[in-house]
Symmetry: C2
Subunit: 134 residues, 2 copies
DNA sequence: TTTATTGCTTTCGAAACGGAAGTGAAAATA
DNA sequence: TATTTTCACTTCCGTTTCGAAAGCAATAAA
């Protein structure tokens, strides 16, 4: 068994839990699209491998950031969704967006720029828009 | 040569640049302590290896998130400091702290809890406190 | 002149990684 | 009913990244 946390610092501890290149992208998809299936995640632009996706979904479920449940009609499909704990990562994601909009502006998607502008002018509104979906 | 970005998403792009377990901790030390030397970073609680630290400092300097300069009196010491671009990661760090304070409260340091509470009640004040140091 | 410090490099075994192919159960199609 | 396709994994394998430790040259301190 390995130690779970490197220190008692809140920043390093959060990074210990989901500070990899994929976890926040799974959270992102759930924030912006709501319920997602395994297949949905594999269709994201960043092209996560199935092995990595399986691993991350399990970890995020153990951390209680997401839930896994059966599809109402199709028994071989699982539906993933955010918990309140996972939804509370929205502010972290929002700050990444704002930073990238400022410093990677010539690289990111046009629709992302528009959304970033909305985050600047109506932060609470953008936040509520997703928070109130469930 | 490998591709720099996985997609044009602002979140994944930011993670491509500094979405590892160490970069934000280096930024953290610079935010909270100001100028730091190589030795200072190795003394942080998380115990980064020297090979990893050398690698990350170079990357962060190339990204222009930090600067490297000579110590005014000691020629074998280098002094690292944040650029405005690096300082603008403070809001990201602040949101990690707030999330951890809410969900990892029984694990994190007491002084971190107090600081997180200050972030909640006087966000702009906490932000300015560091922003105005230089 | 000797010793200690600093920033950095090298080495090496372990862990994490991406990409591709394969699996079984269930669903859709014929 | 028989066949094919889909879905959520799982396995495999070569590559990259990693932590831990030792070693290094240059400078500073003693």
């Amino acid at each position: 068994m390995k130690k779970e946390f490197r220190s008692d610092c809140p920043i390093s501890s959060a990074l210990d839990l989901f500070g990899d290149k994929w976890s926040l992208l799974i959270i992102r998809d759930l924030v912006y699209f709501g319920e997602r299936t395994f297949k949905d995640f594999t269709n994201a632009a960043e092209r996560i491998s199935t092995a990595r996706l399986t691993d991350r979904l399990c970890k995020l479920e153990k951390l209680e950031l997401i839930t896994k449940s059966n599809h109402p009609t199709n028994r071989k499909v699982f539906v993933y969704d955010l918990t309140a704990k996972g939804m509370d990562l929205f502010p972290v994601i929002a700050e990444y967006i704002k930073w990238s909009n400022k410093y990677l502006n010539d690289h990111i998607a046009e629709e992302a720029k528009a959304y970033a502008a909305m985050l600047e002018t109506d932060r609470q509104g953008a936040l509520n828009h997703f928070m109130q979906r469930r």
